[in-house]
Amino acid sequence: MKEVKASAAIRVMLVDDHSERAQLVEDGLVSAGFEVISVISSAAGLLFQIEQHRPDVVIIDLQSPDRDVLESLAIVNQHNPTAMVMFGQEDDPDYIRHAVSAGISTYLTDGINPARVRPIIEVAMAQFRSFQGLREELVTARAQLESRSLVEKAKALLMTQKNLNENEAHQLLTKLAMDNNQRLGDVAHTVVSTLSAFETRK
């Protein structure tokens, strides 16, 4: 056990191929008062980086192929005098579930007290989740935008081909959606594909 480490700040290394997310996690950790000594991507020579920076904790994206590299450091030998082990293997089965669903995995240098690492992991998990949330919002926003432009296109086609005004076209789309129990975007899609096929035939 390394007693020295108990009083010193815990040195964190981040391994993440998403630089925006890594930034988010680093900011979160730093503003919570933790020391982030290095942020690297996969394939940046993890073993060399660990040898050089000697982190106490490595937080790694679950989707990084370097996880098997980290786990090989559990074996102590001449080239690897200090073991690193996965966090949370013993006590708390729910922790693993949470970490996997947040998309992170954590490894500690042997001798670091897991209780001191817990808050670091909490921050990292929260940041991973909020990044995921932001991305989902972006996807939703994009889908909404696409659906809106489809509706506009459907309305325009209805107006020219069926001689409707904009309001009538809109009402027709809404009625079709309600009658068929579909979303407006889906109805618009059907209308656009039907009417534009008709238009090309003409």
């Binding site: 990084s64 098997d68 590299v69 293997q89």
Partner: protein
Amino acid sequence: MPESSRLAPPEIDNISLGYMRLTDAAPLILAKEAGVFKRYGLDVTLCREVSWANLRDKLVVGLLDAAQLLAPLPMTTAMGAGGMRGQLLTGLALGLNGNAITLSNRLCHELSDQSETKFSPLERAEQLKAYLANSAEPITLATVHAFSMHTFLLRLWLQAGGIDIDKDIHLIVLPPEQMCDSLARGVIDGFCVGEPWSTVAVEQGIGSVVASGYDIWNNAPEKVLGVTQQWHDAHPATHLRLRLAIMEACQMLESPEQREAIALTMSQAEYLNLPSRYILPSLTGAYHYTKGSDAVVIPNFHVFWKYQAGFPWRSQAQWILTQTSKMLGKDISAEQAQSLIQQCWRPDLYREAARLLGVPCPSRDYKSENTHEEEWSIESDIVLGADKLIHAG
């Protein structure tokens, strides 16, 4: 296929099956693409993962139902070696052999300047020993996982050459996708890895194969189909159907035409995402040790069905466990070993499936290992492969 009336209905029909980007994922991909899973009433989604750690973790927390695993993984996971602890088991091995040791062309040239000569795996190991005796620096070799047949085979090859692994070799772990790049950049001097990655190194002109896995241990265990104990207990009928479908696919891969076809399928972006010329050599057994050299015929480079390739021998589990405990520097008592092996390796599950398929299978759980130079048979009609180990000349 057994009559469906003889099979209990599956408890669930949507299955997530994890695999790695390796040629020996062929049976899983074939079972999906040829509709074998579907015939067994299973809607299987194949999930490509980037690390063995991921496959294990996702199995343990239930994000995957089943997964292709390195043979040592069920037992090392039960021991909590390196990563998380969990109760995994296998009732089906996914094939024999499939690996190769590749050294950088730079190092090969240092070992011998007779680039035209084809040296035996043992000659190569002996050349390496001679080279190391005159070299101040250890060389760095990589495998894809600490607890893998790759590591064990690499050690066997080095030992056959009389090399002091702890002194002269820096053994590290790298993901398969980083092997070729690291070899080209001189970060490592060689590796032991599953196909297609040695062929990729050969084709790219950065490395040469010095030994196939078959050269080191004829018909060695390699991957297994892993599930958690808990999942198996809750879904015995689903698990049985899954094994039956994969066994049928393994049997289909006896046909050379089928192997050529699956190489094309596997080259697609969603699977291996590599040109089929990298996947074909090990599957057809016309294998190239060096770029531009004549093909060496290794018909058993991958064995998926014959020689009882799917049978999870407990004698092999015992061998793996002994090697693992040596690496960990941890003694495992005979009772502990016995209970781990019985928990994790389930030949009874293989027999259950084999009976339904009407194919012969061994009634014993253990066999003598590494004592047969040729094919041999047990229990009158069961043919097993040679199991010879490379050893010092």
